[in-house]
């Protein structure tokens, strides 16, 4: 999530209203006000609206939402006459370049900070950590056009930002903090992307670091924006968002020529949407004119086209409008969620419980009747708990997660009794007897199904108790079962049995082996029972 700092004075000037009016309503366009400070507010915006990641963008949206200035914001773009060439060798490395010239900027500490933080938020939300899009901002007056985006040998030297000595690009990846952070994006390529001017001065080594030469300072008047990446759409959105934010702040945007194409245009996209479709989806009755008014409040251009249609111009900074429904959401926001009548649908259906949960509930009822207390352990556990402490071989179908966070969460449970023994260990200081049960999912060979298990710990817990408990549950679940000698090493030999249903092993019960008790650091005997609930007649087997 992007948390944007909004300095009140700047925001008020841009929005042309007071801070209270803005802060009272800003949540209604889709945000969370995180903190209200003396001179600024921190507000969180959603990742689908990178155009709101700057005070300029927020002011633009709020002017519309508050009715101060509605409709499509107009941005004029003059050609700068500056051009870029693109080296064809970049096609396999980092093919896309976007750029613009922004003139007449006035920087102070705050506005440099604001543009840097917009740049960082875009790197995160649009750029996917700079791999998809990386943005560079330069003092245009330190370099000489035309510019060249080239695939350079890695031994090329220049002075990177925040340094005074030259380094090779290979060295930058090792020595420069930004180099280390982003090396993985480029390190496998034989040549590295580089932007140079007509005199071979380095502007930028995208997506890693700019050159020190073009550093933006408070004296900077004219900016050159470079945006490189792997996805043309994302690169263009990033350019548009920065250019329009700077234009909102009073700067003039000029286009450049890249491979013969004049860019950016900052022109809106167009689509024609259906009023009826919108009304039906939202459940509010709208005329074409009403819909157009609402869209203009959200800074779209919108004209009723007669009949059911509204023609919509989508501002160039709106990355999130992919589908007609995306404009309908804006209609709903402009209309106000609080004004939409909340009315459950008339759809008639009959509630139907899932048999798996019905059986789980039954198992709970029976265990409770036997005086057992339900626990709900995690499904992620370790081989140590599931197998080693139980003196059992690892189950063949156990599921291992690829990148566990801790050694306690490496595998999805295949059995429940080990987790209950863990519980008994955690509750050693509590009054005995303790009788615990669990019903829940286990996974074997990617198949999820349910098991139930119970344990009873007290000085007289024994095989007979385990057998009686198992028998009561199996009878109450109408499971036709027989028992056979078990070979389960978690139990004491001669005090253990497998539950057999239709010739297949469906469970086990008995007295836990003292070596297992030692492993779980338990001090009394434990009678235990575990059952595969697929043995219940009627359990849905996929």
């Amino acid at each position: 999530m992007a948390v944007i700092t909004l300095p009140y004075k700047y925001l008020e000037r841009l929005t042309r209203t007071d801070r209270k009016t803005i802060l009272d309503k800003v949540a209604l366009i889709g945000s969370d006000v995180e903190r209200i400070e003396e001179d600024h507010a921190d507000v969180e915006f959603f990742p689908d609206r990178p155009d709101l990641f700057s005070p300029e963008g927020v002011a633009r949206a709020m002017r519309g939402f508050l009715g101060i200035e509605t409709g499509l914001p107009a941005y004029s773009v003059k050609p700068s006459g500056i051009s870029f060439t693109i080296d064809p060798a970049l096609a396999a490395i980092r093919p896309v370049l976007g750029a613009a010239v922004i003139r007449g900027v006035t920087f102070d500490d705050e506005s440099i900070q604001s543009i840097m933080s917009l740049q960082e938020s875009l790197h995160w939300a649009v750029g996917r950590g700079r791999s998809k899009v990386a943005i560079g901002i330069h003092d245009l007056d330190t370099v000489k056009p035309p510019f060249h985006y080239i695939a350079s040998p890695r031994s090329r030297k220049f002075v990177p930002l925040d340094y005074t000595e030259e380094m090779t690009m290979d060295e930058i990846l090792v020595k420069h903090p930004k180099g280390r952070d982003y090396a993985k994006i480029v390190q496998d390529f034989p040549l590295f992307p580089l932007i140079v001017d007509s005199e071979d001065h380095v502007l930028s080594f995208p997506p890693i670091i700019n050159g020190e030469r073009t550093r933006v300072t408070m004296n900077t008047k004219n900016i050159l924006l470079d945006t490189t990446g792997t996805d043309a759409k994302a690169v263009s959105v990033a350019v548009n968002i920065i250019c329009t934010a700077m234009a909102e702040a009073g700067a003039r945007v000029e286009s450049v020529t890249i491979g013969g194409v004049e860019t950016p245009t900052l022109a809106p996209a167009e689509r024609t949407v259906s009023v009826k479709e919108c009304s039906r989806l939202l459940g509010i009755d709208l005329t074409a004119e009403e819909m157009a008014v609402l869209l203009r409040k959200m800074r779209f251009g919108a004209q009723p086209e007669g009949g059911d249609k509204v023609r919509v111009q989508i501002p160039c900074y709106r990355a999130d409008i992919m589908h007609d429904w995306d404009t309908f959401e804006d209609v709903a926001i402009a209309y106000g969620y609080e004004r939409i009548i909340a009315q459950p649908p008339a759809t008639y259906t009959v509630g139907k419980p899932n048999p798996v949960q019905v059986f789980a509930s039954l198992a709970r009822d029976i265990f409770c009747g036997l005086g057992y207390l339900e626990v709900m352990p995690f499904t992620l556990t370790s081989e140590e708990t599931l197998y080693r402490k139980m003196l059992r071989p690892e189950a063949g179908g156990a599921l291992h997660v690829l990148h566990p966070i801790t050694i306690d969460n490496t595998v999805v449970r295949t059995d429940l009794v080990p987790l209950l023994l863990e519980f008994l260990n955690m509750n050693k200081h509590r009054e005995l007897p303790q009788r615990l049960f669990v019903v829940g999912d286990v996974v074997e060979n990617c198949i999820t199904y349910q098991k139930t298990a119970g344990v009873s710990i007290h000085p007289n817990a024994d095989f007979s108790e385990a057998y009686a408990t198992a028998d009561a549950i199996l009878r109450d679940l109408s499971i036709d079962y027989c028992v056979r000698e078990s070979a389960d090493s978690a139990f004491i030999e001669g005090r253990r049995a497998d539950v057999m249903v239709n010739g297949k092993k469906a469970g086990v019960f008995g007295e836990i082996h003292p070596a297992v008790l030692n492993g779980f650091e338990l001090e009394h005997s434990v009678a235990a029972f575990e059952l595969d609930l697929r043995a219940v007649p009627g359990y849905p087997v996929p």
Binding site: G30, F46, R128, G283, Y337, N354, F423
Partner: protein
């Protein structure tokens, strides 16, 4: 005055006869142990009917060594008797009492050693120590010394002298019901009618019973069951599905772009297992790349089959409901699923790597955003939350999207869950031709509020005391 126990009455009856008596003596009359008599006497004392006098008597007993010296004299006495004129130290050393006796004589200053010969000091005597040993009586410094030497041990004897008070005498005079008290009625007494003449022991209701702990459903499970019942009442069908899901169903079918941050391995538990893509997956692929046959532009870029085949621990139950919709594309569908979902999070008091999610879907001709708000309001009202409001939000697979907030007394508005209408990019490739309203909520958030928990882990690593003490029923709904 509290009701007298049968034993108190019996004691008073005997005391009225015997007057002032020792507990031991009374015990013989009452055919009980003296400890029991003392206990009854204290009860009677609490009622002002008797007095109990606790008398402590000190005494001494001999150790084995002390007993020996009592017969043969202390080692120093024995040794002193051997000392005549010209007795040498070497001669004395042969005596068995030398080791202890000589040390004592030197310590008490009763002998002098000069040029290898030993002589008694004038008037030397051990007789006072001998007397103290044989008759320790009331103690004193010499006896204390003998205790230190391990020859005597101090003992304490406690006697109880019990007397009846005038109030007790009055009670006896007024007559005591001395019939045998019955604790548990026997079958015989019930059938024979003997109960009619029996005196049933009365219990002290001010005394709390020993706690019984019934078998119980987990308080968290109870909340899950409550939500489940509400949704069943509202006409929803319950879904159950696997924990292991293909990325295709967990992400791609829900129009999550393949480079979406939520799909990175920092956030999702990936598995080495893969599954073949379902038939017709190409439509989902086309949707991602170009928007398929809808008004959508799609995400553009590339879409890789291998990425969609990889299995994950489901990050939401939407992976289950979307497959249900794909299998049941004909309206109406109203379904819900409550199940565990997984996020690759470091576990702490407010984050778990696995937690319960509730998810509901409604698909029908002409269902709309207002209907979604209606369902949510109804659900939260039934959960006991009076104040419910909605605000814009963002989820990759719904449009429009919203967050629901409920009002909690003393806390304010709390975000409870997200909702929206499935994007056409989600429904169209699966052949679902009607709007699908969908909402989800974190069940544990409500559980934390209801149960007043500060640590989410307590839901899963529960202290048994918490489970035993949490009431099964709470009067108020909501929180």
């Amino acid at each position: 005055m509290a009701e007298l126990t049968q034993n108190e009455k019996r004691l008073l009856a005997v005391l009225a006869r015997e007057g002032n008596a020792e507990a031991l003596h009374l015990a013989r009359h009452l055919e009980a142990t003296s400890d029991a008599v003392v206990q009854w006497a204290y009860l009677a004392m609490d009622n002002g009917l008797a007095t109990v006098d606790r008398i402590v008597e000190k005494g001494f007993v001999y150790t084995d060594e002390g007993k020996k010296y009592c017969e043969h004299g202390l080692p120093e006495t024995q040794l002193m008797e051997k000392i005549g004129s010209g007795t040498t130290l070497a001669e004395l050393q042969k005596h068995e009492a030398f080791r202890i006796g000589f040390g004592q004589l030197r310590k008490k200053g009763l002998v002098v050693v000069k040029d290898g010969s030993v002589s008694n000091v004038d008037g030397a005597s051990t007789s006072e120590d001998e007397i103290a040993l044989k008759n320790p009586g009331e103690g004193g410094p010499r006896v204390k010394e003998l205790i230190k030497r391990g020859l005597l041990q101090e003992t304490e004897a406690i006697r109880y002298s019990i007397a009846i008070t005038p109030a007790g005498e009055l009670a006896v005079k007024q007559g005591l019901d001395l019939r045998e008290e019955i604790g548990t009625l026997t079958r015989d007494q019930i059938l024979s009618g003997a109960w009619k003449n029996a005196s049933l022991r009365k219990y002290d209701i001010a005394k709390l019973p020993k706690k019984a702990y019934p078998g119980k459903i987990h308080p968290y499970q109870r909340i899950i069951a409550e939500m489940r019942e509400i949704l069943l009442e509202m006409g929803f069908s319950e879904l159950y599905g696997g924990i292991v899901q293909q990325s295709f169903w967990n992400f791609d079918a829900l129009f999550q772009p393949q480079d979406h941050p939520a799909r990175e391995m920092q956030d999702t538990f990936y598995l080495k297992e893969t599954l073949p893509l379902p038939k017709g997956y190409e439509k989902v692929k086309a949707m991602h790349i170009s928007g398929g046959e809808t008004s959508s532009t799609g995400w553009g870029g590339i879409w890789r089959e291998e990425k969609a085949e990889q299995c994950v621990l489901r990050t939401h139950t939407t992976s289950v409901s979307i497959q249900y919709l794909a299998r049941n594309p004909n309206p109406p569908v109203k379904a819900f699923c409550i199940g565990r979902v997984y996020r690759r999070e470091t576990i702490d008091t407010t984050h778990l790597a696995e937690f319960e999610q509730l998810e509901g879907i409604v698909m029908d001709e002409d269902v709309n955003f207002g209907n979604l708000l209606g369902i949510l309001r109804e659900f939260y009202h039934r959960m006991g939350f009076e104040g419910v409001r909605f605000k814009p939000s963002y989820y990759p697979y719904t449009e429009p999207s919203l967050d629901a907030e409920v009002f909690v007394e003393g806390i304010g508005w709390i975000e409870m869950g997200g909702a929206g209408i499935f994007r056409e990019e989600v429904t169209a490739p699966l052949g679902i031709n009607y709007p699908v309203l969908a909402w989800g909520l974190g069940v544990s958030r409500i559980a934390m509020l209801r149960l007043g928990l500060k640590d989410l882990r307590q839901l899963h690593h529960s202290d048994i005391a918490f489970l035993r003490e949490t009431p099964a029923f709470r009067r108020t709904g909501g929180v």
